[in-house]
Amino acid sequence: MEKIADFYQEWLNAPTKIMKNWMEAGENRRQAFQEPETTKKAHDLHDTWMDMSHSWASSMREVFDNMMNTLPRGVGRETLANIFSSAETYVKLFEFWLPIYKSLQEKTFDPASYQRLLDPSQYQEVLDKVFDFVSPGAAKELYDQAIKYLEAVTPFAQSFSTQLADLAQSGARMYAGMLTGDLGETLKVYENILDAYKRNLNPMFKLPALEKFREHVELALNMLRKYPAFMVRYAKYQSLMHATGQKTMEKVMAQFAQKMKDQAATPSYDEFFKIWAEMNEQAYNELFSAEAFATLQNEVHNAGLEIKRDFQSLTELALAPYPVVLRSEMDELYKTIHDLKKRVHDLEKEKKQ
């Protein structure tokens, strides 16, 4: 019980601190709004508010993660996780709603002025949350795992740790490059490093004692070679989703401006959220319905599957010397059992008849 009480206290304390900061920022903002202000000042205040909001989200996330551990697995826990994730999106979007207040107060609201305040990279975070996009951290994880694997199974890979580290670094750079649209250049750098690494390894394989590791290394390198193919498509996919989101936000603003003209009372944030959700739903449905989207989505999916296939092969190779049953061996067994079951079933049926 004590533990639960502590959690409650933590829950209550964390947001309270943040709310206090928000109050101060809000008061500053109110004063700024009452005075003639420059665009810069509005930007600064907006940024302050964004920081506060980030604090709220990260603080609540930390507390939330602790509390989730106290809930048993099941529908309640899963639902709560979904609720919290949605609340984060809701709060994140609130940051974009705030600049509208200024325009409301000054009665100068128009979509164009809002666009000046909208930071695309910040808005991408909202979309990333909605679509659960993989973070750059996941890319690093793949490289780290591949490197650890090579180090574990091959006695000489450690001597190439510099090249491997370069490979990991270039992978991370490549990811960032792709998101900014510099696909060709980043891929070239990556391919060069991968080729150099392979060239350096080739003489080693001529030694009979190391020949047996060739397959491991080639498979691992092959997998790393497939990674850019996946990332190129994934970056394209993300970029398409982000572009749709940005464009829809402009339309949301236009519709909201119209709503402002049509009704006397200022629309609430909830109304804004509703319009945002509905218009995005429609816009993404149109995007998803396009043939080109289906093709791209399948390309991303297939490229991801190829990496998964190599991982499975690598795992089998690594486990092969040990006295464990491999996945492929189990699959053969499953096939035999399936066929036998069918045969017994048919014979029993025949006997009954």
Binding site: Y8, W11, L12, P15, M19, W22, M23, A25, E27, R29, R30, W56, M60, F64, T70, L71, G74, V75, R77, E78, T79, L80, N82, I83, F84, S86, A87, Y90, V91, L98, Y101, K102, L104, Q105, V130, A265, T266, S268, Y269, D270, F273, A277, N280, Y284, N285, F288, S289, A294, T295, Q297, H301, N302, L305, R309, Q312, Y334, I337, H338, K341, H345
Partner: protein, 356 residues
Amino acid sequence: MTASARVFDPQAQVKAAWELSRKLIKAYETMRKIGAIEVGAAAKELVFEYDKIKLYHYQPEAPVTCRVPVVIAYALVNRPYMLDLQPDRSFIRRLLQQGLDVYAIDWGYPARADKYLSLDDYLNVFLNDGVDFIRASTKHDAINLMGICQGGTFSTIYAALHPQKIKNLITIVTPVDFSTNDGLLFRWSKSMNVDAMVDIYGLIPGDVLSAGYLMLRPFMKISKYIEVLDVMDDREKLENFLRMEQWILDSPAHAGECYRQFVKALYQQNKLVEGGLVVGEQQVDIKKITMPLLNIYASDDHIVPPSASIPLNGLVGSADKELYSFKGGHIGVFVSAKSQRELAPAIANWLHQRAN
């Protein structure tokens, strides 16, 4: 967050943010107290099982007036308790109350060892054994078959393969003509590399399948979870919500071979309509469906669009066939008040008229 003042009011904003935090705390507190969620309201008995497949017989809730039993075949991708969520939202109870004798097949949760189960296994072994059991135990040469969603496609194929065993066929929100591009799943599946997917996964995980469904309406999902924060004090409403959540989250894996065949032969090649579908060693000829057919589709279905369901009536060889349009969505067909009030009685009435 409601802040509708013309003048910027920081206090109101802070209060609104605080309110959201309070609601989240309340949500945690409620989830902690609420415990396990019960689903299933109708009493039932396990009467037959083979491998992971179970056949349940529901206990009557009214005198059985339609003597020919009806067996329900649900989809593989979700669990059949959608049809029997709670006492006041139970499609099955409504059917029982209308005097039907109801059986339902539960396909279970395939494990990795089941990766080689094919369409042939599901139709000519599992479904066929269930149908034969009911035919033998109730002494009817032919029984009524009600297929739902993917289970409806299974039922259609089964009725074409074994027409002598089916007295009446009812299909509900059933995809038959996969050439349509009205639904996103239909469009996306056409260029999908299903061979790679099955070869690599073996058993297609439930969460991979669920991700596809959730992607259909990503923003409505967020709205749904924000809105539910307002019912945390209303235990009844919250439990209703959680029952539905439980069903959504409870997504069994799909046997790889069956998935491969279903996607390739149907979604990609539309063989049920175009011809050439082979199950086991048998050619499927949809014209061999000559028994009475009741084909029910939902007008606002975003998972199985009407254009995938409606053509069935023009493809079968039945002289007695009826198309029923239900105003609602894919799930509303079973859980909405309208469904309980109108659809279940309409089905029971249709079957009663064809009981002899």
